[in-house]
């Protein structure tokens, strides 16, 4: 086996990869931001005493979590237009990932909400706070601290899922890498570099979240 690594072709197209990475990050950021809001609303729905709120939330989470994300991506992009809903590929992917992350984050947030002791809500009621004030000043801040450790792995997972956008030709990192691979035939080199970019980005993300976790930790 006389294969010698030659990265020059990859370096020549490196800025293409970086643009791809930038798009990956952009997709993840927008989708997860929407997913957080969706997840939070769904988490409160899952914990609601009213079936009219709880059942739809449960159905949403169950369907999404039991469907492979690639199927969801393809469904939104190829099947929805048949039903008259036409989205661009980026919008289509962002919508899918937002819906997908909402379902996963809902379970994470639900766990965090359950871990807030009931006695604290009662203490809030006892001083005359309204339910909304209790939610904003007591429940949410504590829930956030409860979920931060596990949120990190969920967010990284969701970021990596942006690579599936390649399946519908969104020019993010994986798509760009495949293009370079096809054009240059430097298969090993291209995927090594692409992988390194994913690893580096995820590590930075993890470090940032750990820092946030430390900043928000409660002195004891």
């Amino acid at each position: 086996m006389g294969y010698t690594l030659n990265f020059s072709a990859v370096w020549r197209s490196f800025d293409q990869l970086l643009w791809g990475l930038a798009l990956s990050l952009g997709l993840a950021f927008v989708a997860i931001a929407i997913g957080c809001v969706l997840g939070l609303i769904t988490a409160f729905g899952l914990l609601s005493k009213q079936g009219a709120l709880r059942h739809p939330a449960r159905i949403y989470v169950t369907i999404i979590r039991n469907t492979p994300i690639l199927v969801l991506v393809l469904f939104t992009f190829f099947a929805l237009p048949q039903l008259g809903i036409r989205l661009g590929k980026i919008e289509s992917f962002v919508a899918t990932l937002a819906l997908y992350s909402g379902a996963y984050l809902a379970e994470v947030f639900r766990g965090g909400l359950l871990a807030v002791p009931n006695g604290l809500k009662e203490a809030g009621l006892a001083i005359g706070l309204t339910q909304a004030q209790i939610r904003n000043s007591i429940v949410m801040p504590l829930m956030l601290r409860n979920v931060l450790p596990s949120l990190s792995s969920t967010l990284i997972s969701l970021f990596k899922d942006t690579s599936l956008a390649a399946a519908i030709a969104v020019p993010e990192l994986t798509f760009e890498a495949r293009k370079i691979n096809v054009e240059s035939f430097r298969v090993i080199e291209t995927w090594i570099v692409a992988s390194c970019l994913y690893v580096a980005t995820c590590s930075v993300l993890a470090a940032l979240l750990r820092q946030l976790e430390q900043r928000m930790s409660i002195p004891r």
């Binding site: 002791p117 006695g119 604290l120 009662e122 203490a123 809030g124 009621l125 006892a126 001083i127 005359g128 706070l129 309204t130 339910q131 004030q133 000043s137 007591i138 801040p141 504590l142 601290r145 409660i218 002195p219 004891r220």
Partner: protein, 256 residues
């Protein structure tokens, strides 16, 4: 106006099928300090929680300063008041819990300030001054920037009392505030309550500390199986119990 601070009439409370308060009547004047004693499961906690609308109740009425708590019963129908209205009524009473229930992500001062800012709509600076005054009163001026996790149980309970008192309630409710504490921390908390009693604070306290109940109360209520079994001034109650039940209960209680 009858002049009564608290007026409970024929209070009934069920959990599902089980009736735990079976018609409780109780009146209390401004400045009264009433201890509620009784064996486990007799309904002491439930009674306090009804006064603060932390529990719903199915029959009877509770009035504070003449104002009906929790429900509108005018015209023969009984309707739960609006949440906002109930929140306002809850602020008329202060409550201290067995488990302190301090907000763990806030410093001692912030715990006290929260209600002042959110409910009393005070400016933060003003709220901080009030909070510091009350933390000073419970002997924790130096600990005001500590978090609950950095305080002993006794200190946490004193912060919790300051948090309730700072809201300037008409009536304080204490539910076994020393029973989660190590014995050596009990006295610092009881001392705070005694000081409040001396200053004329009206309070209703559930306690297993019989000597404390004897010393601090103007009246003692003995709860028995969801009813008031006996009540009177502490001297009569403890020295000459009228009912077999109370005599039995006192025999199994420790005075220290």
């Amino acid at each position: 106006m009858t002049g009564n601070l608290l007026e409970i009439r024929d209070l009934h409370k069920r959990y599902g099928e089980v009736e735990v308060l079976k018609g409780v009547d109780c009146t209390m004047a401004q400045g009264d300090v009433i201890s509620i004693i009784g064996s486990s499961g007799s309904g002491k906690t439930t009674m306090l929680r009804c006064i603060n609308m932390l529990e719903e109740f199915q029959g009877g009425s509770i009035r504070i300063d003449g104002e009906e708590i929790g429900y509108d019963t005018a015209g023969g129908t009984r309707r739960r008041k609006k949440e906002k209205e109930i929140a306002r009524q809850r602020a008329m009473t202060g409550m201290a819990f067995q488990q302190f229930n301090l907000f763990p992500h806030m410093s001692a001062a912030e715990n006290v300030m929260l209600g002042l800012v959110k409910v009393k709509k005070m400016a933060r600076d003003e709220a901080r001054i009030v909070a510091e005054k009350w933390l000073d009163r419970v002997g924790l001026a130096e600990r005001r920037d500590r978090f609950p996790g950095q305080l002993s149980g006794g200190q946490q309970q004193r912060v919790a009392i300051a948090r309730a008192i700072a809201m300037n309630p008409k009536l304080m409710l204490f539910d076994e505030v020393t029973s989660a504490l190590d014995p050596e921390l009990v006295n610092e908390v009881l001392q705070v309550i005694k000081d409040l009693a001396r200053d004329g604070m009206s309070m209703l306290l559930v306690t297993h500390e019989m000597r404390f109940a004897y010393e601090v109360s103007s009246r003692v209520i003995f709860m028995n199986q969801g009813r008031i079994g006996e009540e009177g001034n502490p001297r009569e109650m403890f020295l000459k119990p009228q009912t077999e039940r109370l005599a039995e209960f006192l025999k199994t209680s420790t005075f220290n």
